[in-house]
Subunit: 420 residues, 2 copies
């Protein structure tokens, strides 16, 4: 088989371990120089392909690529840019193929979530229609953990660990202060459409370290009176209460609580997220002193406390993507398949993109306790291995040493420009 | 000299390392059983003394006490309860002495910030007036880093490290997203009266890892136009900008920006802190997409990323407090004295409480760059050793294993109650 080049791009919100997948792709491609020529990356994701702004990863040392394993964020830049329907936006897809053809790209590795799985599938379809030989493989990534078939999505485990560790630490703090000061602590976490990350907050406590926790899932409509009663009961019994709330919490009318909260004098939704809304409610109705935190990007960038399992998964799906492509698989995604909870065992399997694209994996209702405020043993069994293990980056002078690549541009071959 | 008991209490906001000081006190006292009998701790700080709610630390194993070294929060409970003037509130001080006398407490170790240094001094004074033999030693602690004489305050270094690491990680994230999404990231940090923690955010970047940062110190009145110009210039030049803002940022009128922000329809100050206020301003005036985070308690509870230097300091001041007391020092505080920046060297010295109480150490103006938005080389030289070193707690199943003590109550000896 002729040697052809590969194109790799990062898509959507980045994670603490998406670069580990990049390392998996690049190192595995380098190990197959007989089949894969150069590995190009898209500068700022798929936009780099559309605008022919390619990065030559061959200009990076083996050491720099290895450092991607422990560097958070997207080393080549990512983007939020969804390619739309094949028919209406055919020009975009044709442009991608034009760029791929100009650089003899025979392998397309797209590292992202639901949208990029869909794009990856469409690119493989248009390539076939245009008679352009291309092997397209999607590399799963999303802190939202909502891709189907795969047991979990690289990026999620590290966020899960971050929120569990953070809530455990904050709970110790609040417990110390509760006698005369803060009695209720609210931590707002990511996950607008599904409560996977909210569930992970529940891992802060276990039999050895009980913590009075109330979780507010996006799947459970907010019931003010019931919530306040739950918090009040915890404070009365344990002296304090910790609340983990999803940014996507909805009220009974299906509106985002973050927006349904207080409005300013101009009618704008107030600036804070749902965390401060919930905290203020506790103060107004129960008169407990509160503190709240919104971790935002800190939770998905926190490579310093990434889960080792997650790092291993991220690297493995990157490596498997290249191996699958070389084995002739097209329009597929390497999926993580769990074969045992205890001891935790997993393997990489192959998922057809047609079954992945546009399917959202929801948090199972049986992961949430009957009262709607906690996680079940089933959820714990699922989450436990995903947050396991530490894999700290190297530190120097007290700070993690993350790599920044040179990101050398590949000379353009096309005279045409493309506006995104 | 007769063997007498010791009393230890934690005061004010807790930290990631205040328990390391407790370990220093208790382990050192245990090593001097010939001079110090039992070590009692106040349940919820000084309130425990006033209400005769004492904890017998002798009921804790050596292993549990050693685990305090790596457990954040206040293991015996803390409180925000300021003892007021000696004259007006003499009954409180007399009650303390009454409880001390009942339990033969000859050593008083008070672990806190400015207020508790003042209380410790007053307790030593009233003891002398009442002819009660007591050795009172203050153990420094405060994330605010505002105690005088001591080079730094245990607790601060770990917060400094947390905010520097977090901002570095978030900056990598924002840089990845900036092409099509978030261009400005705002991190709100603690430090209402002084910008020590804000300055530490500046350590996120260094020569090897430049980050376009704008810091908003409580010492520098907020100038909207100038700030927006600074942010805009960074975004235009680097593609993104990270803003570290103190919760105590003031406007030109000296009002807290957090309160001077948008008010709701009822005229209440909006719920968020200053972080979202600044982020929204960037959006409204510059139209850049933003994200913001408020770390709140996470920053001071984050023992998982504590600075080793800080842990060593915290333990050392606890140990030194006992050694000073045994050496006959009264109404003093062990202070950390820096003898060299590079290599970093420090020793414990003795500060008289009369020179500590009610004196606030401000962030030197020469730590802030001329434009008011950055830190100087002098600030870096000061901060660098304080964030150095890692000292992770033990992990099990992906989570840090922090200790919870038994906190067994000492039988009461007084028939009298005291209402706090």
């Amino acid at each position: 088989m002729a040697k052809r080049n590969a194109f790799y791009a990062q898509s959507g919100g980045v994670t603490a371990v998406i670069n580990a997948s990049a390392a998996g792709v690049i190192e595995t491609a380098r190990a197959h120089r007989d089949r894969i020529g150069r590995v190009y990356a898209g500068r700022n994701g798929i936009i780099g392909a559309l605008t022919e702004d390619l990065i030559d990863t061959g200009k990076e040392s083996a050491r720099a690529i290895a450092a991607l394993r422990y560097t958070p964020s997207g080393a080549f830049g990512s983007c939020r840019y969804k390619l739309k329907g094949l028919e209406e936006y055919r020009a975009q897809y044709e442009r991608l193929i034009e760029v791929f053809r100009a650089h003899d790209i025979g392998y397309f590795f797209y590292n992202g979530g639901n949208d990029s799985a869909d794009t990856c599938l469409k690119v493989s379809q248009i390539a076939e229609k245009l008679g352009y030989p291309l092997t397209a493989v999607h590399v799963p990534k999303t802190v939202d953990n909502d891709l189907p078939i795969t047991d979990n999505c690289p990026g999620f485990g590290s966020v899960a660990k971050y929120v569990a560790v953070s809530m455990r630490e904050a709970a110790f703090d609040v417990q110390s202060m509760a006698k005369t000061s803060t009695k209720v602590f609210v931590l707002e976490v990511m996950g607008r459409h599904a409560g996977w990350i909210t569930a992970a907050v529940g891992m802060a406590e276990d039999a050895a370290t009980p913590i009075p926790l109330v979780l507010l899932f996006p799947e459970v409509a907010f019931d003010e009176a019931k919530f306040l009663a739950a918090v009040d009961a915890k404070v009365k019994r344990f002296g304090y209460c910790c609340v983990g709330v999803s940014e996507g919490l909805l009220n009974a009318e299906g509106q985002l609580m973050a927006e349904a909260g207080t409005r300013d004098a101009f009618g704008h939704a107030q600036l804070g997220g749902v965390g401060p809304v919930i905290a203020k409610l506790v103060k107004d109705k129960l008169d407990y002193k509160y503190h709240w935190a919104v971790a935002d990007y800190l939770q998905r960038a926190a490579r310093h406390i990434a889960a080792k399992t997650d790092v291993l998964h991220a690297y493995a799906v990157g490596r498997a993507a290249v191996e699958l492509a070389l084995a002739g698989h097209n329009a597929v995604m390497p999926a993580i398949t769990r074969t045992s909870d205890q001891p935790y065992r997993w393997k990489i399997t192959v998922a057809p993109l047609a079954k992945v694209a546009n399917v959202e994996k929801k948090l199972p209702r049986n992961f949430i306790t009957a009262d709607g405020y906690g996680i079940t043993a089933r959820a714990r069994a699922y989450l436990a291995p995903l947050i396991r293990g530490e894999d700290p980056p190297p530190f120097k002078d007290g700070l993690p040493q993350y790599v920044r690549l040179k990101n050398v541009a590949v000379p353009r071959k096309l005279a045409t420009a493309f506006k995104v």
